[in-house]
C-alpha cells in the first residue's frame, strides 16, 4: 500500500489541522474520531451546511470547503464540558430540519433562532475561530508571520 495514501486516509485536514478520521466502518457515524459526543453522518452533513451558511463560499473558500464543521466537532468534543456538549447536540438535532435546504434558507433559519441561542453562538464562535486561524486565511488573507524579525513601534499609516 502506498504510504502517502495511507496517511491521507487516516487524517482529514480541517482548516489546516489534521484530525484523525474515524476508525469506525459505520457509514452512519461522523467521519472523525470523537471521544465524548455522538454525532451521525447526517448531523455532520447538516453541520457542514450550517457552517457554510455562517461563512459561505464566495470568490474564496467557505467554511465547508475548509472542513470547519469538523473543526467545530473536534472543539466541542475536546474543549467544552458536558453541558455545552448537550446544548450543541440538541441544537444540531433541531437543525436537521434544514437538511437539503439552500444556504440562504439555512441563514434564515439561523437568523430566526433566539438571539441567545447557545447552539448558534457556540457554532458561530468556533467557526469564526477556525476560519480566522485556518491555513487558508492565515496564508492568503490576513497573513500570519511566524518570524517577523522586526519591531516598529510607530508605523505611520498611509491614508
Amino acid at each position: 500500500m502506498n504510504r502517502r495514501t495511507a496517511i491521507q486516509q487516516l487524517f482529514i485536514i480541517a482548516g489546516g489541522m489534521m484530525i484523525a478520521s474515524s476508525c469506525s466502518s459505520d457509514r452512519n457515524k461522523a467521519s472523525i474520531e470523537l471521544a465524548n459526543i455522538d454525532v451521525s453522518a447526517e448531523e455532520e452533513d447538516v453541520l457542514g451546511n450550517v457552517v457554510e451558511a455562517i461563512i459561505p463560499k464566495t470568490d474564496s473558500p467557505g467554511a465547508r470547503e475548509l472542513n470547519l464543521h469538523l473543526f467545530v466537532l473536534k472543539m466541542v468534543d475536546d474543549c467544552h464540558g458536558p453541558e455545552d456538549q448537550k446544548r450543541f447536540l440538541d441544537g444540531l438535532k433541531n437543525a436537521k430540519s434544514q437538511k437539503g435546504k439552500t444556504t440562504s434558507e439555512i441563514q434564515e433559519y439561523l437568523k430566526n433562532l433566539p438571539a441567545d441561542d447557545s447552539f448558534l453562538s457556540l457554532v458561530k464562535k468556533r467557526t469564526i475561530q477556525g476560519y480566522l486561524n485556518s491555513e487558508y486565511v492565515m496564508k492568503n488573507k490576513l497573513i500570519y508571520e511566524l518570524v517577523p524579525a522586526r519591531y516598529n513601534g510607530a508605523l505611520k499609516i498611509e491614508a
Partner: protein, 571 residues
C-alpha cells in the same frame, strides 16, 4: 546501597554537584565547569535539548490540534497550572501538571513548576532588571526580615559579568533605583508608550517609564554567536523554546557552554532526596538521588554542593536532609529554614484606551513587552501607610477587530477586513511583599510523593500591607491613566493566590547572623560550609524587580568564592 564498592563509589564522585538545571543551576554549572571542576548536574525532570526538544517551536496556529487551547478535561484536572498565563498547547509539555506532583496547600498557593532540563528558564518572562541598594537596604531601613549581608557594590561586577554572557537588551536610563548594566540595544517604546512616558515625567518627575530590560539578543555580540545563538527574531513565542536562541535559557546558553568544557555530567531523571551530611567530617559529602523512572536510590559524592532546585524545592531538599547534627534540616541551627517565604504581589492590573495617534500602529512584535515603571513609592523615605512599593509594567498596543454580528457574506467580508481600534493600554503591578515567619513551607508529616519524599506543605498568604499597596497601585495608576487622557479605564483586581507570580523566594535566607539566617554573605551555609544556595530560596527580601538576573549574578559570584575557598583548603 547493597552492592557498594570502591570503584562504584569513585564513579559516583565528582568535584562539585549542582542540584537543578534552571536559571541558577545552569549558571553554577557553567562557572564550575569553566573553572575546571568535574561537575555533576542533577535534574529531576527529563532531558530537553536545545532546538531538538522544542516540538512546537515552528508550528503555525492552525497546526495546533485545538488552536492552542487546552482541552476541557486537562483544564478540569489541572486547575492550578491552568491558571498560568503560558499554559497552552504550545508549551504545556514544559509545565508540571497538578496531578503529577501534588503538594499540600495549608493556604491557597499556585505553585507553578517546570521539571525538565532547563527548568523554568524555558518558560520565564525574560524580564531582567537589576536590584539596587534601595532593595538591599530595605529590610534594615524599614525594619523587617533581617539585614541583607551584601549591598549592590558586592553584586555589581557579577551583574556585569552575567549580563555580558546572557545578553540583556536595555537602555541606559541613569536611575539609581534600577542600575544600568552591560546592555545590548534596548527595544524602543512604541509611540503611545513614549507619549505616556513624556506625560508622566512632566507631571510626576519621579515616575519613570522606561523600555523594559529583557534577556533577548537585540544585537548579538561574538560571545552570543559563540554560544550558537543569533539575533532575536521577534517571534514572541518564547515559551515554546527558541530555535534561534534569541532569549537566554539554560538550554540555549549555560548548559551547552558547560558541556563544551568536557567537565559536565548532566543526569536528568534524578530526583534529589537529600544532601548527605557526614557527622565526623562535619560537612556535606554528597546527595541522595532517587531515579525518576526506576526509583533506584543512588548516592553521589562531591566536595562542594550547590542546591539550586528552585526556591521551594530547595527548601524541601534541605528540610529533608536530616542528621543527628541537623535534625530539623541541613544548616538549620537558626530554625528559620522554610520560613520568611515571600513572593511578588501581581494581583492588580488596569486597562484603558487612548484615542490619539490614530494614524500610527505597530509593526512586528516587541519581545521586551513594552515599558517598565521602576518603584517610586517609599523610595527615598517612607510616604505611605504601607511598607515598600511596587514596580509596574506598562504597554500599549493597537489591535484590529471585526464586527462579528452578522451571517453569511457580510460576516465573511467583515472578518476579512478588520478595522483598527483605539490604542489599548494596560499595566500590571509587581509588588514587594514582606517576608514573615508565618509565611512558610514544611514537610508534610504523612503525605509522600511517588519517590518516597515528603510532600511540601505550603502556608503563604497576603497580608494587610499587600492589600494597602494594591489599592494604592490601582488608585495611583488610575490617576496616571486619567492624567494621560486615557479613557474606558478599568481596574482589574485579581483574586489570584500567591505563587501565580512565579516569583516565590526565601526560606533559606542570607544574613549576617547565623542565629537568624541560614546562609552567609557568600550564599554559603553558616553551619555547613561546603553547601551553597544561589536560587530564589536565598533571598532575604523580594525587591520589586524580577529576580532571575539576580540569581544568575549570585550563582556566578558564589562559584568564584567557593572554588577559591576550595583551593585554599578552607572547605
Amino acid at each position: 546501597m547493597a552492592n557498594l564498592n570502591i570503584d562504584s563509589e569513585k564513579n559516583r564522585t565528582y568535584d562539585a554537584i549542582v542540584v537543578g538545571s534552571g536559571i541558577s543551576g545552569g549558571w553554577a554549572a557553567k562557572e564550575l565547569c569553566e573553572k575546571g571542576l568535574k561537575t555533576l548536574v542533577l535534574e529531576r525532570g527529563r532531558d530537553v535539548q536545545h532546538i531538538k526538544d522544542y516540538p512546537t517551536t515552528n508550528l503555525y496556529p492552525w497546526q495546533f490540534e485545538h488552536r492552542n487551547e487546552m482541552p476541557y478535561k486537562i483544564q478540569q484536572e489541572n486547575p492550578i497550572v491552568n491558571r498560568c498565563y503560558a499554559f497552552h498547547e504550545d508549551a504545556a509539555h514544559f509545565f508540571v501538571k497538578d496531578t503529577e506532583h501534588p503538594y499540600v496547600q495549608e493556604k491557597p498557593f499556585d505553585w507553578i513548576r517546570g521539571y525538565q532540563v532547563g527548568g523554568k528558564s524555558l518558560l520565564w518572562a525574560r524580564q531582567t532588571q537589576r536590584w539596587s541598594d534601595f532593595d538591599f537596604d530595605g529590610p534594615a531601613r524599614d525594619n523587617f526580615a533581617v539585614d541583607w549581608p551584601i549591598r549592590y557594590a558586592d553584586l555589581k561586577p557579577w551583574y556585569d559579568y552575567v549580563e555580558r554572557f546572557a545578553g540583556i537588551a536595555g537602555d541606559k536610563d541613569g536611575l539609581p533605583e534600577l542600575p544600568d548594566g552591560e546592555f545590548l540595544p534596548g527595544y524602543p517604546l512604541n509611540i503611545v508608550e513614549k507619549y505616556f512616558k513624556q506625560k508622566m515625567e512632566t507631571k510626576y518627575p519621579s515616575r519613570k517609564v522606561i523600555s523594559a530590560r529583557c534577556a533577548h539578543l537585540s544585537k548579538p555580540n561574538q560571545i552570543h554567536l559563540d554560544q550558537g545563538r543569533v539575533q532575536c527574531q521577534n517571534r514572541t513565542l518564547c515559551q515554546r523554546g527558541c530555535p534561534f536562541g534569541g532569549y537566554f535559557s539554560s538550554n540555549a546558553s549555560t548548559l551547552p557552554w558547560a558541556a563544551k568544557t568536557g567537565n559536565m555530567t548532566l543526569r536528568p531523571d534524578s530526583v534529589v532526596h537529600s544532601v548527605l551530611y557526614d557527622e565526623q567530617k562535619g560537612k556535606a559529602v554528597g546527595v541522595r538521588v532517587i531515579d525518576r523512572n526506576t526509583k533506584e536510590e543512588i548516592d553521589f559524592y562531591a566536595k562542594i554542593i550547590f542546591v539550586n532546585a528552585a526556591a521551594l524545592n530547595t527548601n524541601l531538599i534541605l528540610l529533608n536532609s536530616k542528621s543527628s547534627r541537623f535534625p530539623n534540616g541541613l544548616g538549620n541551627d537558626s530554625e528559620t529554614l522554610g520560613k520568611y517565604v515571600a513572593f511578588h504581589n501581581y494581583s492588580a492590573r488596569i486597562y484603558g484606551e487612548y484615542e490619539g495617534y490614530k494614524d500610527y500602529k505597530t509593526d512586528g512584535r516587541n519581545p521586551a513587552g513594552g515599558g517598565y515603571i521602576p518603584r517610586f513609592r517609599n523610595l527615598h523615605k517612607q510616604e505611605t501607610d504601607y511598607l515598600r512599593g511596587y514596580a509596574a509594567g506598562f504597554s500599549a498596543w493597537r489591535s484590529s477587530n471585526s464586527d462579528q454580528s452578522g451571517l453569511g457574506t457580510d460576516l465573511k467580508e467583515s472578518l476579512l477586513n478588520p478595522k483598527l481600534q483605539n490604542w489599548g493600554v494596560g499595566s500590571h503591578m509587581m509588588g514587594e511583599t514582606i517576608p514573615k515567619e508565618s509565611n512558610s513551607v514544611a514537610l508534610d508529616q504523612s503525605k509522600k510523593d511517588e519517590w518516597g519524599i515528603p510532600q511540601l506543605k505550603i502556608s503563604v498568604d497576603y497580608d494587610d500591607n499587600d492589600a494597602k499597596m494594591k489599592k494604592d497601585y490601582l488608585d495611583t495608576m488610575e490617576e496616571m491613566f486619567t492624567e494621560a487622557g486615557f479613557t474606558n479605564i478599568s481596574r482589574n483586581e485579581s483574586s489570584q493566590a500567591p505563587g501565580l507570580d512565579i516569583h516565590e523566594m526565601g526560606g533559606v535566607r542570607m544574613g549576617l547572623d547565623p542565629k537568624t539566617s541560614v546562609l552567609n554573605k557568600w550564599n554559603q551555609m553558616h553551619a555547613c560550609k561546603n553547601v551553597f544556595v544561589t536560587d530564589g530560596a536565598a533571598m532575604t527580601s523580594t525587591s520589586t524587580q524580577n529576580p532571575s538576573l539576580t540569581y544568575m549574578a549570585f550563582a556566578a559570584r558564589t562559584v568564584d568564592y567557593a572554588v577559591s575557598e576550595l583551593q585554599k583548603g578552607n572547605i
